[in-house]
């Protein structure tokens, strides 16, 4: 039987709902559980954890259940959920906050492949100021992504010139570096 003790042990760690509220400025208790967010979510069919489930689990302080699910990472951040919400809850921002919490690594980690993809993607942007597809593919697969997935499509994509072999940097690389430095500084703060 799945059992859990509910919130508000005042001596213990900060409850998840309060933590998310501090990060987003939004109150997770506002969710009606009407499901309109999930009804509009393009990824709803792909995941067991849809936006309204996420809102409910946050309100009930279920970090454990959130950590096990893929929904947070499959989210496209299209923000349809947020624009549809009747009570101003902003599930997209809430899921963003949860991704931040998990990416920090103290409360569970994102799935390895997803983590590898995000890291690879950000590294491309850090190094080139834009996406270098070939670099992304290499670093993603070496970092833990599925090694042989989609390999067969590579020749045709190359033939059509959709995949460059050499990176092209953007002009303002100095600015890109400054942006990353500023983010790192912000993250370093408690």
């Amino acid at each position: 039987m799945g059992s859990h003790e509910h919130s508000h042990d005042h001596s213990g760690p900060e409850p998840l709902a309060a933590r998310v509220q501090r990060m987003t400025g939004l109150n997770p208790a506002c969710c009606y559980q009407c499901g309109k967010c999930s009804a509009g979510c393009p990824m709803a069919a792909e995941t067991t954890l849809r936006p309204h489930d996420v809102m409910r689990l946050v309100a009930r302080n279920r970090l454990d259940k959130l950590a096990d699910a893929d929904g947070l990472w499959l989210c496209l951040t299209c923000e349809t959920c947020t624009s549809r919400c009747p009570n101003g809850c902003d599930p997209a921002r809430t899921m963003d906050a949860l991704r931040e919490i998990f990416a920090a690594g103290k409360d569970g980690k994102p799935p390895k492949a997803i983590s590898a993809f995000h890291k690879s993607f950000l590294n491309q942007v850090r190094n080139h100021g834009r996406l270098f597809e070939m670099g992304l593919i290499m670093s993603y697969k070496l970092g833990g992504g599925p090694m042989f997935a989609d390999v067969t499509t590579t020749p045709s994509v190359l033939a059509r010139g959709k995949l460059g072999l050499a990176p092209h940097n953007v002009k303002g690389m100095d600015e890109v570096r400054r942006i990353f430095a500023a983010c790192a500084e912000e993250e370093a703060q408690p």
Partner: protein, 673 residues
């Protein structure tokens, strides 16, 4: 010989489209007794009515048949026109060829034949009609209000402010009802006592309100405008005229451990007691079941304790006081007896109700009901407003509220929604969080029903701003481990079983009518549903009237009601009562049953079937004044003209005027069957 006029209406196209109205008028000309038959586009219009009046005068009509819409629509119109031409209005009848014919058929030919048939039946009826006169009954312009809760108080004040005398009867020692027990009220959180007690005092001081507290309605006789009510004024053992309400008697009473009804058993009272400090009237009452003197008397022992009498400077204590019966004449009655809560435990006072053994009520001391929580939260309550649990007086840090206890549970005998629980549970979580800052309130609910002005906002506030945790699902079982209550439930939003610990549990139990409501309803001849709630005459259009003329209903004795509902209903009954009292005489339709005294055998089948208690016994005496026969008599003031007695009478001695057997037989014969 009858001289009948027939007037066929086209109702614009409503009838004319499907029925050949001119053809109907022509066909009726051949019916024996018909001397005038015409059709017209709008018979209810001024020129149409004038046609009726002119024909009565010119043709010397003895009866009028208007083939048009339902009598509900225009019978009054045409009877008025008939009376205007000098003919008795009850010699005019409607043949309904619209609702019963043109609106429901398509085939014009067949519909026309049917319209002719309908009109012919009414022609035959009108031939047998006799002039009837409107019944005029005198009205006693005083009202009785039963129940001194907020609904009864409001009704009494409104009627009295409208200039009529009111007798307010309250079963308990004080008026105020359940509202006086509440701490704060939704959705504004204003203090219940602060808004109620001024109204209670107003009742007490009103020159036109006579308050009978600690009294019950013993019997009711009569009918609308003319009720005779006997009230039992139960013995308080205190002389109302002498007592000045000083309270010295309650201070000295040695029996101090009696569970207080007002505090729902959470506090104690003495055997001579005032239920709460703001009681109206402010008079103590001796509980004869708990007073040492009366307990000794019951055992045949001499009177021992007379401490209260000794303490009373006014000599107001009267141990030999007896119940008194007083009789009052009133013209209207308002029933406002209110509710009780479902008692949760295993034993229920009604056979079809089952308790909730699985919630451990009665065995786990920290499982309480909603009214008990009100007393804990009330500043005037046994804990002075501190939320402390009954078992050990500790402040509960984890409190759980369960909604729909009894309500919406046909298996327990109550399928209805109690309406107020969603709101008062939201209020309870707020009161709890206001008082216990480090506590957590959790609510198990099925749905949140917050349909009222400001109600949705209020329940959302409890969740969004005040931190109540709402879990959708019913609890399966509760048990005690140490001083912790274990709760086994299911969160249907997460789709997971849930096990939870609580320090205290509050059950939002169903609203039920007061005990004894069935006996009172029978005294009043008003109907009630399977739960005991008084039935209204029509759920939409006559919501505060009962099936018995002159008896009205307000508040939670009709259905679960919150305070605004109860007050609105009470004011509605007051307006109905004042409307009834606007005239000295009451006019009623003469379609009432009438007994043929020569034939009646006095079997009184009619009395047994009459739903309104209209049948009385009448003595037939000889010249010397000896009773030779007892027969039935139908009181025209009470009779509602339903005709059940007529159908039941074995000797056909009772007939409904305007609907006699002869008239109905004439109608059937007109159809040639």
């Amino acid at each position: 010989m009858a001289r009948i006029g027939v007037f066929v209406c086209h109702c614009g196209e409503n009838i004319g489209r499907t029925v050949d109205c001119h053809g109907v008028a022509e066909a009726c000309k051949d019916v024996p007794g018909v001397v005038h038959s015409v059709d017209y586009k709008y018979m209810c219009s001024d020129p149409g009515q004038q046609m009726v009046k002119n024909a009565i005068a010119e043709k010397g009509l003895t009866g009028v048949v208007v083939a048009a819409c339902s009598p509900h629509m225009h019978e009054k119109t045409f009877r008025r026109a008939t009376a205007g031409a000098g003919l008795n209005p009850f010699l005019c009848e409607m043949a309904n060829v619209r609702e019963h014919c043109s609106w429901i058929h398509e085939d014009r030919e067949k519909a026309t034949v049917k319209a002719v048939d309908i009109t012919k039946t009414i022609i035959e009826k009108v031939k047998r009609n006799v002039p009837l006169n409107t019944i005029r009954i005198p009205v006693t312009r005083r009202a009785l209000v039963i129940g001194g809760g907020i609904a009864g108080i409001q009704a009494a004040l409104d009627i009295a402010d409208g200039g009529r005398e009111v007798i307010l009867v309250e079963k308990g020692p004080s008026i105020g009802g359940h509202m006086s027990q509440l701490s704060e009220t939704f959705p504004t959180l204003d203090c219940s006592q602060c808004i109620l007690t001024p109204r209670m005092v107003e009742v007490y001081q009103h020159p036109r309100i006579k308050l009978y507290a600690y009294s019950e309605v013993e019997s009711v006789e009569g009918y609308i405008g003319n009720f005779k009510v006997t009230v039992r004024r139960k013995a308080r053992s205190v002389d109302e005229d002498k007592c000045n309400g000083c309270g010295a008697c309650t201070q000295v009473c040695p029996n101090k451990k009696i569970p207080s009804e007002f505090d729902c058993g959470l506090g104690k009272r003495t055997a001579i007691y005032v239920p709460f400090p703001q009681a109206v009237p402010n008079l103590p009452t001796v509980d004869r079941n708990k007073c040492l003197l009366f307990m000794n008397r019951a055992k045949g022992r001499p009177d021992t304790c007379k401490k209260c009498a000794d303490a009373c400077a006014k000599g107001a204590i009267d141990f030999d006081q007896q119940d008194r019966l007083v009789t009052e004449d009133v013209g209207a009655i308002v029933v406002a007896t209110g509710y009780q809560l479902y008692t949760i435990g295993k034993d229920q006072p009604k056979d079809n109700l089952k308790g909730y053994g699985e919630y451990g009520y009665g065995t786990i001391p920290d499982v309480i009901d909603g009214l008990q929580f009100e007393r804990l939260a009330s500043a005037s309550g046994p804990t002075s407003g501190k939320i402390l649990r009954p078992s050990d007086g500790k402040e509960p840090k984890r409190i759980v509220f369960l909604q729909c206890i009894g309500s919406r549970d046909p298996q327990k005998g109550m399928e209805y929604c109690s309406k107020i629980c969603c709101m008062y549970v939201a209020k309870h979580t707020m009161l709890y969080h206001h008082k216990v800052h480090d506590g957590q309130a959790t609510v198990f609910y099925m749905d949140i029903r917050a349909a009222g002005k400001g109600y949705e906002e209020f329940s959302r506030r409890a969740i969004e701003e005040e931190g109540a945790q709402y879990i959708r699902g019913r609890v399966s079982r509760m048990w005690r481990e140490g001083d912790v209550i274990k709760i086994l439930g299911f969160d249907t939003l997460e789709g997971e079983p849930i096990e939870m610990d609580a320090d205290m549990v509050v059950l939002a139990t169903a609203m039920r009518p007061q005990p004894g409501i069935d006996a009172l309803a029978q005294k009043l001849s008003v109907s009630y549903d399977q739960h005991g709630f008084i039935n209204e005459a029509h759920p939409k259009l006559r919501p505060v009237e009962t099936n018995t003329a002159g008896i009205f209903v307000a508040g939670a004795c009709q259905a679960p009601r919150d305070i605004p509902d109860a007050v609105a209903m009470a004011s509605a009954t007051a307006s109905k009562v004042l409307g009834l009292f606007a005239n000295e005489m009451l006019e009623r339709e003469p379609t009432v049953a009438c007994v043929n005294e020569a034939n009646c055998a006095g079997c009184f089948h009619c009395e047994r079937v009459c739903a309104y208690g209209a049948v009385e016994h009448k003595d037939i005496k000889d010249r010397a004044g000896n009773v030779v026969r007892v027969i039935a008599y139908v009181n025209p003031g009470v009779c509602q003209g339903c005709g059940t007695c007529q159908a039941t009478c074995p000797s056909k001695s009772v007939e409904l005027q305007g609907f006699t057997d002869e008239q109905i037989w004439g109608e059937i014969q007109a159809l040639g069957v």
